[in-house]
Subunit: 364 residues, 2 copies
């Protein structure tokens, strides 16, 4: 069970260690991580103010108060009525504070208004205070990630065995089908369901469109949702018929590269090594200039969060870091492919949370 | 068709009229409204910088560039590669600007980083520059809202006729059913699907839970999604059997109140009058203290946007303002009810976009 009092106490320690006077978090995942309560992304401000020397205060719109599970030992809940300026309440709670950490995803409108009232604030990002803490998933969090991963594995298995019809449907139709399956498998939210065929797949974040999937085409599906607060994210590709020799060859390179990325996810290794290992494989095979993004992103309550598997990130991997390993090869105007699993770094070595097959099925 | 060049030119005029040097918008709906391009809510910055005296610049992560529909006559697209600090690019584009408007929903992390580079900026909200422009929906926008409203009307009709099973299912199961129907009716995204039964409905934003719906219970369903970029939002209630006399009486009050709110939506009337009219009806019937929220919110590319139908908002309604009219009565510990339609103020009078029945069906 998530223990709000424990997490908030640790956040208070982090404030002291980082010499930050206060932490303000709003929408985004810092808030449910610390309190169990998720704010709706609304024009009505929800804000948790944490200071080292007092009880944390959660300001919520009055009509949301019934949704807050009270933890009086951990934080005080204050509902504000619609005739009150909630930013003023936050400004009051920050009296005497100067160096203040702001949640990454808080809407800028509230920060702009806060700065009107407190132009003297010196701002830092919340990740500088509680980022290291959030990155390390405890056993319950890993279990939640594993359950979400298993759910999308089942969908990927249906994709790979031909149970999900492809030929003759639009990318958009297949995307909606995947979305419905994501919900049916127990996620409370669909985060994305990318379906990209042939040259459309050369755009890594292609938006599924009206293109009708034909035969003998490479189809890339990258999908995930949020289940019990934790995210899934998987990419698998299939061919609707027979793959060309080029595509088969590239896929074997990609699969070897992805394995190299997983194998590099050793506790103590720098995050950038997880980026470099697959890149070396793809470079050596001559496809290097077509691998146009970083290898992975952290995952947890957010689809993308720290730590990032990217050149320049020298943070050493720790037991409990969870992230994607997802190299890709994108040949503009021709085709694109990506292979993605979620991996947790553990003292016993890298642990994959996605376990569905990684070959390139040729569906007849 | 949305005309990016035209909208951006008008935004530039708004900058001059409001004596603001630059506008920076990121995630949220200002960006698709102005450019047709919607940024994914990502840790990779997308930002449009508009200044009155030069071509607007859209900074996007390199791998998103293929998703941007180019309008070179309207704005310049600049892809940034993963070894670049994108906030630095925005800071450069703001050289010489002092008073800068920031998009409401831009993630605070980027604003914090921008302020590190440009601590001299004087910030205002983007709504102060382009809010009035965005509030007035043109004919294409009203048509998109009407299509989305018609889609949720069809789901509400199934709810009201008993086609959607309720008794014996959990609120969560019914919520998932509504979510799947929202997608099946053509929305690209589910925004919310609140299902609240009996005393759970006394919390206006109740999160659907494991409570099993019984017989003779009042069930509140408030749901909507985004279809072709524009939002739907409707609330209807049904009773799973026979309604008590108290509930029948309160419903007639609520229905009269909602009609009064719609009737008050006259071009030239202040927004707060749309709040006051239903409140008077509910007050006079003696339920006033149980109507705990404003009467409505603007709707368009966002589920909730300006103008708000709330006490204190003296903005006069204009032809093309679109908003919800959704009074409610919530008796703590007992039951809650709400009735919601989307309405457009027009020179010919208020136009409802939701047209499904408004009585309280007793499903046997």
């Amino acid at each position: 069970m998530m223990d709000a009092a424990h997490r908030l106490q640790r956040a208070q320690q982090c404030l002291m260690e980082n010499e930050v006077d206060a932490l303000v978090v709003s929408v985004g995942r810092d808030l449910p991580y610390l309190t169990g309560y998720e704010a709706m992304p609304l024009e009505r401000l929800t804000a948790l103010v944490v200071r080292a020397d007092r009880t944390p205060q959660l300001f919520v719109p009055g009509l949301e108060v019934p949704r807050v599970e009270q933890h009086p030992e951990a934080f005080e809940t204050i509902g504000w009525s619609e005739d009150i300026d909630p930013v003023g309440l936050v400004a009051e709670a920050l009296a005497g504070a100067h160096r203040v950490a702001i949640g990454d995803q808080m809407w800028s409108r509230f920060l702009v208004e806060l700065l009107h009232q407190r132009p003297d604030l010196s701002l830092v990002r919340s990740t500088e205070v509680i980022g290291a803490m959030r990155m390390i998933k405890d056993d319950d969090e890993v279990a939640a990630l594993a359950a979400a991963s298993a759910a999308v594995d089942r969908i990927a298995a249906d994709l790979r065995s031909g149970v999900i019809p492809l030929v003759g449907r639009t990318e958009h139709q297949v995307s909606m089908d995947l979305s419905e399956r994501i919900l049916a498998e127990g996620h409370e939210r669909v985060n994305f369901a990318i379906v990209a065929t042939a040259d459309n797949a050369a755009s890594p974040h292609h938006h599924p469109g009206s293109r009708i999937i034909g035969e003998n085409e490479l189809v890339l599906c990258d999908f995930g949702g949020t289940m019990d607060g934790y995210c899934s994210d998987i990419t698998r590709c299939v061919v609707t018929g027979t793959a060309s020799a080029e595509i088969r060859e590239a896929w074997e390179v990609l699969r070897t590269a992805q394995q190299a990325g997983v194998d590099a996810a050793i506790v103590g290794a720098p995050c950038e090594e997880v980026d470099r290992a697959p890149r070396r494989v793809i470079d050596e095979a001559g496809w290097g200039r077509y691998f146009v993004h970083r290898t992975g992103h952290g995952i947890g309550m957010e689809e993308h969060e720290d730590p990032y598997m990217v050149e320049g990130n020298q943070r050493p991997l720790e037991h409990g870091h969870a992230f994607s390993v997802e190299p890709g090869i994108y040949v503009p105007g021709q085709w694109g492919m990506r292979l993605e699993d979620i991996v947790v770094a553990t003292v016993d070595g890298p642990r994959r949370l996605n376990n569905v097959g990684r070959d390139l099925p040729e569906l007849q």
